[in-house]
């Protein structure tokens, strides 16, 4: 079922200005086509029959803001998504990072944490876990809360286990979690090296230097100017010879920082070379 098209372009612009003005969240450089769908979707989910109702609620009920942010940002993610990418990390990138005494990784836009846990498993299996910290950040505090618990739906595990094996994993995937009814809880050891924090890629600045930044399927929701701004932020946050990993259909090509990076093979991984 597709959403009705009740939110007009002008409405959207007005609402985004309100939110920026009232709450300091700036969505004005988000990709319009996606955002419009999300706004129509939240109208449907929360039974607003007109755009004006949504706007009224947002302006007058500040408790509604967190719900709004959770629903208009996309939180679809999975473990070991694009197994080939994780295989490249396992076989090529992590062996390079091994030479550092201490490894810092940033998962930017981590959502409910599936990628951070996938990374933690890779680090365990390559014996790098103990000297690594994973900074997992998102704009949205409620998904970080979920991420820190490491609890995921049981019905996803078949797919995740398949991805894990395709990515070169050869242990029993179920040894990393305990099943409880319809969910699984990942071993708390895995999250012991994760730091969860809110961070807004639009407005917050660099907060550390990393050897690896993962930001996969986040930038597709931003317009090109904002993408360039975020690339600059990542550039400021990467050590020389550090790596930036993007989603399967995202690219650093045509960006302002392209000339400082070299793409790693066919995968969406770029090495900072200057």
């Amino acid at each position: 079922m597709i959403e009705l098209d009740i939110v007009k372009d002008d409405d959207m612009e007005m609402l985004l200005k309100d939110i920026s003005h009232l709450y300091g969240y700036d969505f004005t450089q988000y990709s319009k086509a996606s955002l419009k769908r999300r706004l129509n979707r939240i109208c449907m989910l929360d039974k607003f029959t007109s755009f004006a109702e949504l706007r009224y609620r947002l302006i007058h009920d500040d408790a509604y803001l967190s719900r709004f942010i959770e629903e208009i940002t996309v939180n679809v993610t999975e473990m070991f998504r694009d197994p080939h990418f994780y295989a490249a990390l396992r076989h090529h990138i992590l062996p390079i990072l091994r030479t550092y005494p201490f490894i810092r990784i940033w998962v930017a836009g981590c959502s409910t944490g599936e990628e951070a846990y996938s990374l933690a498993i890779l680090l365990k299996e390559t014996d790098l876990f103990n000297k690594t910290l994973i900074y997992a950040t998102d704009i949205n505090p409620s998904v970080l809360e979920k991420a820190s618990k490491g609890i995921f739906p049981l019905n996803q595990m078949k797919q995740y286990s398949r991805n894990y094996i395709l990515s070169g994993g050869n242990r029993d995937f179920s040894s990393y979690y305990m099943s409880m009814y319809d969910v699984v809880k990942f071993n708390s050891d895995l999250s012991s090296k994760m730091i969860f924090s809110t961070h807004n890629l639009v407005s917050d600045s660099s907060f550390n230097e990393f050897q690896l930044i993962l930001c996969r399927n986040v930038l597709i929701y931003f317009d090109k100017d904002l993408q360039n701004k975020v690339f600059k932020l990542f550039d400021d946050s990467l050590q020389p010879f550090g790596f930036l990993a993007l989603g399967a259909k995202e690219t650093l090509r045509f960006s302002n920082v392209e000339y400082r990076y070299k793409q790693w093979d066919e995968d969406k991984i770029w090495k900072k070379i200057s």
């Binding site: 079922m1 098209d5 990709s31 769908r37 597709i220 929701y221 090109k224 399967a248």
Partner: protein
């Protein structure tokens, strides 16, 4: 086809049974179509590039898989990648989106058709091929509401007739096409013909 509006985008949607039609039709397209052609088919994410390679090998038109914020050119065939929805930012630029599946599908034909209808309005043309689910029907409806042009494969010729048949049952379709007629029909939509 009197008073036909200029076609500015052609969308082709299909599911089970549609690949063979694409392989028959796309190679016969003339190489200066006056619009881009966007293909949304349901496929699993693993044999990712197979369809692209097959089409590229046979087609005179350039075939490319879409990446985020890509600029579309006339007379090019664009394949929507597995596991992403395709949306139009404006008449030339597309975005990818990996939000929730729609009709159990990502890419969803409905999502792309609806997005195109909002941007291209009556200059949208869409063709729905063989398939076993109802994805695409609502999208065609959006296009029809904007007075765009709506075509479906003749269910009699479809490997899986459900999708085109549902379209015919649920909305006013401009033209029903057999695969062997499709290429010349598409070529005639072009103003450069």
């Amino acid at each position: 086809m009197e008073n036909r509006k200029t076609t500015e985008i052609l969308l082709i949607g299909g599911s089970a049974g549609s690949i063979s039609v694409l392989l028959e039709v796309l190679p016969q397209l003339q190489d200066h179509l006056s619009f881009p052609l966007v293909v949304v088919v349901h496929r699993t994410s693993h044999p990712e590039s197979m369809l692209e390679d097959l089409l590229r090998f046979r087609s005179r038109l350039p075939v490319e898989e879409v990446y985020d914020k890509m600029t579309l050119k006339d007379a090019c065939i664009y394949l929507v990648p597995a596991d992403y929805h395709l949306l139009f930012e404006n008449k030339r630029m597309v975005s990818l989106d990996c939000s929730e599946k729609v009709n159990y599908s990502r890419p969803s034909i409905d999502v792309t058709f609806q997005s195109a209808a909002q941007i291209f309005e009556e200059h949208t043309a869409a063709l729905l091929l063989s398939g076993a689910n109802a994805d695409g029907i609502e999208g065609l409806r959006c296009i029809a509401e904007k007075k765009g042009a709506v075509f479906v494969q003749d269910p009699e010729t479809a490997e899986i007739a459900y999708m085109p048949r549902q379209a015919l049952l649920n909305l006013q379709v401009d033209t029903v096409l057999e695969p062997r007629e499709m290429a010349s029909f598409i070529n005639q939509l072009s103003t450069y013909y």
